[in-house]
Symmetry: C2
Subunit: 217 residues, 2 copies
Amino acid sequence: MSEKYISKAVIGRLPRYYRYLGELLENDEERISSEELSKLMKVTASQIRQDFNNFGGFGQQGYGYNVKYLYGEIGKILGVEQKHNVILVGAGNLGSALAKYPSFPKRGFTISGIFDVNPDVIGKTLNGIMVRPMDEMEEFIVNNVIDIAAITVPRDEAQTLAEKIVNAGVKAIWNFSPVDLNVGDDVVVENVHMTDSLLKLSFNLAAMKSGKWDYRI
Amino acid sequence: MSEKYISKAVIGRLPRYYRYLGELLENDEERISSEELSKLMKVTASQIRQDFNNFGGFGQQGYGYNVKYLYGEIGKILGVEQKHNVILVGAGNLGSALAKYPSFPKRGFTISGIFDVNPDVIGKTLNGIMVRPMDEMEEFIVNNVIDIAAITVPRDEAQTLAEKIVNAGVKAIWNFSPVDLNVGDDVVVENVHMTDSLLKLSFNLAAMKSGKWDYRI
């Protein structure tokens, strides 16, 4: 039980730090104080320091953090120094968009396989990768080292496919299907529920217009 | 100051309640107790009751909630009883996927216009809607009643376009660009940061494998 507890809120903010630090690095910024980062990111400097203290603090000196070092350390924590092999389960509109998303390979996430049940799609290529029949998926996972499966199939197919994916050995699922998957405790799931997100926006718009609820932090 | 404060966490859970209740309704379930809903959704019954109490409690009786009534009430709170006109700003891979996403029209979100700068895309149709030149966007917003703009353009173009969208009168932005938009307090923004989401998954996978951090709730 030597595990250090990191809250979901902190984990949720880590990719955002990584994104801002990446932009600072692109702009050849060498150092940044927690106060400057605070202004840029619109979170308090004390929140930044608290968040970073979860991971040892990254050695802020009087003159601030070393941007390149901080970017590298947060990248390590996020696991991006490792290459990840990803399969896309579902080659519909969203799956096709993910196959062509330029940021993923830049961060070391390589799409190794794409699977679908639609005969019109099977055999075609998406960003250079051939779409294979869904019933070849498990064998493909077993024969290749697959770290992450992105699921973009319709709701009713997602749970069955998730079980096959997990049984074949994948430990991380990026779920775009509008359903909460039931998988074991040794599998991590990250959901992107599009409609939930749109409904949150719709709530906030209605709340702002009506003045009935204060929906801001 | 008669506004009732609703926390972000509660708002974040509302669409999920709505999703589950919609499924119960499809399955002709008439009533559900907070305990049954708790088991189904894997949140505590007390959390459900607390969440619902923000909105008056929806009248749970001894025999539970009326599913249809609860679905309708949460739908009203989420603003889905109103029709929303949506424009897509950016008709790339992700914009195209959104244009074809079947759940949005079902929930009353109608794509009324699609805009892009790419001459190869302008004039083509996506799900029956013609892609228009980006420089017609502001006039289109002014001449039509547009509630929501979904932005799927590259990072460097997002802020400028967001300002144009807001100046033309749109009050809600669904932002898929990997950047945090600066807009006024009278505009609501909901972000879907794909790479941030993938990096969270990558963190959780690395944390699970290393046992260095306890990342669960």
